[in-house]
């Protein structure tokens, strides 16, 4: 990506989500408040037609980030600009305008639709709300076309069904189709395939790729599946305890990780190729709760190459070329 003065399409600016912690506080003076920092200062840009993959383990704040960007939760600080316009302002002015700009695909397709309505009713609702199409007949026709273009046959039959009568893959496609009605510029896909059977995942993935390439939407693909994320995205951001620790093009990050956490993550990722036996880097324990992390590098307590300095100050991000950076003083060193 060129770093000219061009405004990026989606620009996340220092977003943070802190929850107050009311449990027993450890080694703390009284009066000081404890915070669980689910997301702690994330800044990132996404261009039109670009898919950004966000990977990390459970509890790293990647889902919370998705919820903040779609304003299902309000961040403690920070904002997200779309085409230079603050979404905070946008949602204040008109909820509908914001919602038609930013859409989300949820992880659990089986719970995305109310169990009491047919697919027809579910699909017609946003069309009516946004006054798309002139009457119900026209809207119904739009639904049928959309379903068929999403590979859902026979559309007429599917419209009459209830969500529980459809498979996860079908529901997830309907979920994307419904979002598409609003013609959003930015889509957050929060683990959209992790609950689906392997053999139908590709359908959803290809739909998302199609969305970004042909409709020019910016997509944030949140996942814990590294291989899949590499497949779908141009850029990958790796999150650990609420912060992005590494960012770069998908191939750079996966093939040439610079942050020790990313290195460990990728070395432990089981490969589909049985002959691809790699040395695994073992790190101790599991990600802790982000309760008052810092002041040093959040990963330092588990890091196999941490030095004293790492515990004192959060390391600055070091660029290693091609827009690839990592928040680690050893980013330039080979392992």
């Amino acid at each position: 990506m060129s770093k000219e003065k061009k405004i990026p399409f989606v620009s996340v600016k220092d977003v943070a989500m802190w929850y107050p912690y009311h449990g027993k506080s450890k080694n703390k003076e009284r009066g000081e408040k404890d915070w669980i920092k689910a997301v702690d200062g994330v800044s990132i840009d996404i261009e039109r037609g670009e898919i950004l993959g966000v990977i990390g383990e459970s509890g790293c704040g990647k889902s919370t980030l998705g919820k903040i960007l779609t304003r299902l939760e309000d961040p403690t600080r920070g904002d997200c600009l779309i085409d230079g316009v603050s979404t905070k302002e946008m949602i204040k002015k008109s909820n509908k305008e914001f919602r038609s700009t930013v859409q989300i695909v949820f992880q659990n397709p089986f719970d995305t639709f109310t169990p009491r309505d047919t697919i027809e009713k579910i699909l017609l609702r946003p069309l009516k709300n946004y006054k798309i199409g002139s009457d119900d007949d026209e809207r119904r026709k739009m639904c049928v076309e959309a379903l068929e273009s999403g590979g859902l046959y026979p559309a007429e039959d599917i419209m009459k069904r209830y969500p529980h009568e459809l498979s996860g893959g079908q529901l997830q496609r309907i979920s994307i189709i419904r979002s598409m009605f609003l013609n959003p510029g930015f889509i957050v896909a929060d683990e959209p395939v992790s609950m689906l059977d392997v053999s139908v995942r590709a359908d959803i993935i290809n739909m998302l790729i199609d969305l970004s390439k042909n409709k020019g939407a910016a997509v944030m693909f949140i996942s814990h599946d590294i291989a899949l994320t590499r497949y779908i995205s141009e850029h990958i951001a790796v999150m650990y305890l609420g912060r992005i620790v590494e960012y770069g093009t998908a191939d750079d990050v996966v093939k040439n990780p610079r942050h020790p956490y990313t290195r460990a993550l990728i070395s432990n990722c089981a490969s589909i190729d049985p002959e691809d036996k790699q040395e695994t880097i073992s790190i101790e324990g599991e990600p802790p709760t982000p309760l008052n992390p810092g002041p040093g590098c959040y990963f330092a307590p588990r890091c196999y190459m941490a030095c004293e300095e790492c515990y004192k100050k959060y390391p600055e991000s070091i660029e290693v070329g091609n827009g690839h950076w990592a928040s680690c003083p050893y980013a330039r060193e080979e392992m």
Binding site: Q170, V200, I205, L228, S271, P274, S282
Partner: protein, 325 residues
Amino acid sequence: MEKLLTLENVNVSYVNKEKKVYAVRNVSFSIEKGDSLGIVGESGSGKSTLAMALLRLHNENLTEITGKALFSGKNLLEITQEEMNELRWQDISVVFQKAMNALSPVHRIGEQVEDIYHIHVPQASKKEIEERMIKLLKLVNLPERVYRLYPHEMSGGMLQRVAIAVSLLHDPKLVIFDEATTALDVVTQGQILEEVVQMEKEMDMTRIMITHDMSVVAASCNKVAVLYAGELMEVGYVKDIFKNPMHPYTQGLLNSFPSLKGECEVLHAIPGFLPDLSKPSEGCIFAPRCPHADDRCRREKPVQQTMKDTRQVACWLHQGGEENE
């Protein structure tokens, strides 16, 4: 090689008032001593049903089982529950997906381990058990102090490791991992899989790994059995099948996984969906979704054929015995 477990025409169906669901149909394969077999399949493939039936943990009133599963001369599907109780832990043990649910929250790990140990060896002393368990904990990279912890003081990955250690208490001949690493994070899963593979080298155990994730099988097993809609599609060595899948379903499944570092090939979904399992199928069960299906596939059920590399494939494309694609 000595055969440890041989399945012959195993059928498992769930019966209730209204209908009968054929969850596992005519599955036959065998496991040799020292093997690690991954049973892969998507939801509805019957992989968990099969495991539950082998362990006799299914609901007997709602299930109909036919066929044989010979384990050191005994048919696991026919012996009484008492005999099965004898075998469990001693000879066959299991690790479930959510270990935390299997452990009592109000007792220390050590106390629970003692209880389990005493079921089969009532005369064992506390010290003996502790020593044994601590040795096992080391195998799964856990510190000794875990023995004195409560389950809630540990993370999911630690608990899963404890469950694995507990399953090895009596040196079982066969360990079944039922989606044992599915709920874990990438790093933890990777590490546990490596520990398990390491352990096997030292302990001479046989393992069945039930999972939906092909990469778990690639990383930790030497053999793989692919199930679809309750039927066995292909079984053989991982190195053969992953490199050169013969059954169209296996091919489709492998095409659905992107490679981690290799070339980015275009992903393809398998069109269509799982057939209605309450109807007995005519012909190949995969035929409706298969790109190569012809009339014969839809009419007659393919027979399992043994190939040159000892793998078995149930597909008409490979009926000649040894042909390519």
